[in-house]
Symmetry: C2
Subunit: 346 residues, 2 copies
């Protein structure tokens, strides 16, 4: 789900390739760039004053978010839906937290009744997903906010959705800092932000909370070490994100997302046209179809040169319609898919 980065993003990456954001004393320019990028993403997520940092990706951002939540609250329980990215299991293992998974409702989003039953005062964070990895479903973030116990964090994983939802024309649900309970957001510029790897972003409503994870590095040119999981950090990806965001602007992202959604809807038609049933009406540029023996279909399609992924919950064929996917490639894909489906009984 990482993007083919924009040319201007790659160029910016190369110009900053030796700079290390982990030693901002030596590379003060990259720290300024990071502040600019954080400010721009904050504005996009309805909170101009948001703090944060550019990290290696959604996994590091999710781990760091729960690290902050644990250190601030001194509590152990994390509530997240079954549709959450596997990085939350990783984070719980690393941080010694107790995962409390909840099921999904008929819209494939976190079941609020179940959340209500499991929340208590041991909860350090409730996690909502704004664009699930498998289906692109968006949890009811306002609904989760209403169930948040006192002092707990509401963390939104918008790693993939963060650069899509703000630019949709069909009135997406509120998922960001516009929801007053939202504390931290994960959003990945190297996915739909069109920047280079490794560019994730950790966005905080209250920047001061980063103090709880800060460690000093006495030998660096800046005595106080930025609060981050990583030490050496890739300034190049920050420069690349800056370049991509300045180059595209809001208008550019709107156009890009519109293009992806047009192709997604076209693919939905093509799929239903050959008799496939979509798992859900796509909210974003991810599209899943029920099919018999999906793993075999995947492998047959691979022989034809197509990379189709498989979602497990529910088991289905999964297409991520990135900006380079065109109507023409969709035509080719479904022609081959129809043939593969026809040959399944052989």
């Amino acid at each position: 789900m990482c993007a083919q980065p924009l040319e201007v993003a790659v160029e910016a990456h190369v110009r900053f390739i030796e700079a290390n954001l982990g030693n901002a004393g030596l590379y003060p320019g990259t720290q300024r760039l990071e502040k600019e990028v954080v400010r721009a993403i904050g504005g996009m997520l309805h909170h101009e004053g948001a703090g944060g940092s550019i990290v290696s990706g959604g996994t590091e951002a999710n781990i760091t978010a729960l690290w902050i939540a644990r250190n601030v609250t001194r509590r152990k329980k994390v509530v997240f839906p079954k549709s959450a990215h596997f990085s939350f299991h990783k984070a719980c293992d690393i941080l010694g937290l107790e995962p409390q998974m909840v099921g999904l409702d008929e819209k494939f989003t976190a079941d609020l009744d179940e959340v209500k039953r499991v929340v208590d005062n041991d909860v350090c964070a409730i996690v909502g997903i704004a664009g699930t990895t498998e289906l692109g479903a968006v949890d009811d973030i306002e609904g989760l906010g209403a169930l948040l116990p006192d002092g707990a964090f509401l963390h939104v994983d918008a790693a993939f959705g963060g650069f899509v939802l703000p630019f949709l024309d069909h009135g997406p649900p509120k998922f960001d800092f516009a929801v007053p309970e939202v504390s931290i957001i994960t959003i990945d510029p190297h996915k739909m932000g069109m920047s280079t790897i490794p560019a994730g972003a950790l966005m905080l409503r209250d920047e001061g909370q980063m103090r709880t994870i800060r460690k000093d590095a006495p030998y660096l040119d800046t005595v106080g070490q930025a609060a981050a999981l990583s030490g050496t950090r890739c300034s190049a990806a920050v420069a690349s994100t800056y370049a991509a965001m300045r180059f595209l602007g809001e208008e550019g992202y709107v156009k890009l997302v519109k293009g992806c959604m047009d192709v997604t809807r076209y693919a939905l038609e093509k799929g239903t046209g050959i008799g496939l049933e979509p798992v859900m009406d796509p909210v974003m540029n991810i599209l899943c179809f029920y099919a018999p023996d999906v793993v075999r279909i995947q492998s047959e399609m691979e022989k034809q040169g197509w990379k189709v992924s498989v979602a497990r919950n529910p088991e289905s064929l999964r297409l991520v319609i990135m900006p380079y996917v065109t109507r023409d490639s969709v035509d080719g894909l479904f022609a081959d898919l129809e043939e593969v489906l026809g040959g399944l009984d052989d």
Copy 2:
């Protein structure tokens, strides 16, 4: 302490800029490259069969090493010297481990008597440093190995030293898998390996231990997700490391390190020539001098355009002699430093 990467390393980086090692099913070539790089580094560290992975840098490698040690041993205590990188404090906080710091002996290396006094059966890992960040001192890794409690890990942080020590001509102490007790080694290609950021390496004697941190990612093209802290991983830095190591070869690194050590010894002479006392005879290309009011000297030198860092333990002026530092730049630096020292009483 990150390198200005080689041209060939930058070129390789750009060619792989959109590839994601975290989704090896989609980018099988980068997984092969990673295996090649791990094998080459393993050979360099005296264990051809070593396993491991390329991570974002020394901090991620150190955190992952202790994560594995904790999950395998189910113990809580980590013994490390005061000279250890601050990432070990970070790792202990994240992982819920108890740091047990020990002091240094007269060679600025871990005091073995103190280590002996504090080790017990709660120890999950002893950490030795092969090239401390501040002074470039190398702990007695064999001595630490002799004190290792049954079942505990001996982790060596050679983030900076790992691409220097094997290539020194003056018979460096054993620090790698040649010491039978060594379990895991951190080594950073983006430091003296001349690769691009973010390229760290986590090297394990027993690759099977990575199972203890593995999490499944059902939607990826490969079902079993590689055991790594990060999700999306930067294939470009792996390709860059591969290019740098193939381009330089052992001979190239020997030449590079010899050049750095020549300039380091030249700088040592120049420093003593203007009346400065070195903290220790440099083992590697890091050089520290005692001086009065080091922070003021640092700021005066900065006005002249020099970036001199300050070590705190003991307080001293610190120079890292990277490959781009020449005798000429050393001449210029010490001429200005002499002037700054002369003006200190003003």
